[in-house]
Symmetry: C2
Subunit: 127 residues, 2 copies
Amino acid sequence: MSLNFKHKINGQDLIIAISQDIKTSQVLMVAYMNKEALEKTLETKKAHYWSTSRGKLWLKGESSGHVQIVHEVLVDCDEDAVVLKVEQKGGACHTGYYSCFYRRLDSDDLKTIGKKVFEPEKIYGES
Amino acid sequence: MSLNFKHKINGQDLIIAISQDIKTSQVLMVAYMNKEALEKTLETKKAHYWSTSRGKLWLKGESSGHVQIVHEVLVDCDEDAVVLKVEQKGGACHTGYYSCFYRRLDSDDLKTIGKKVFEPEKIYGES
């Protein structure tokens, strides 16, 4: 499957990948995928992304165990973005929240509304 | 409100903006916002984006009337992406579908599963 990897960051050709909880439809996170990340995702049914900060392929949950089991992949009109409908193990966010979108913009403040499901220092170790 | 406009495309500093139907939680589209687009969105409660293809600020629905009334803005952990919970007038997609994510990847095919809600040629004129 060749999509339109038109987002170019540090020499990589990428699509945007949004993950969404398959049961509640909550948006969990957004990241980029290169061609290899998409292929690995389809092959293994576990979400893989391209980490633009680390410049490497990244199996979501590789250190935490909080993998995303991919049930469906939706493709947008331009074929440069996908929605992954996933079963999220543990939590999606490295801060311990179930979703990375755990805060709401209220006037000029960020109000935490999300659910914390794990303690990051227990999962990733003290830093 | 200053977020982390870290996605750099053609000299613009951008965040990723995902719009989601406030009632059904369906993901409607994904696009970028610069600082001005975010400010206009918060000010007018109508979704504004930065069009990377046209290089301009873009009020969603400016030609079609299919605006997005923004009820909530969620912010992610890195503050470089937002989810807009919106009431979508008409349809979000320029192809006439309610959501831009109207196709599912089935093996190597794209299967249309979305709902067409308008005829593009009637809205945008013949091209």
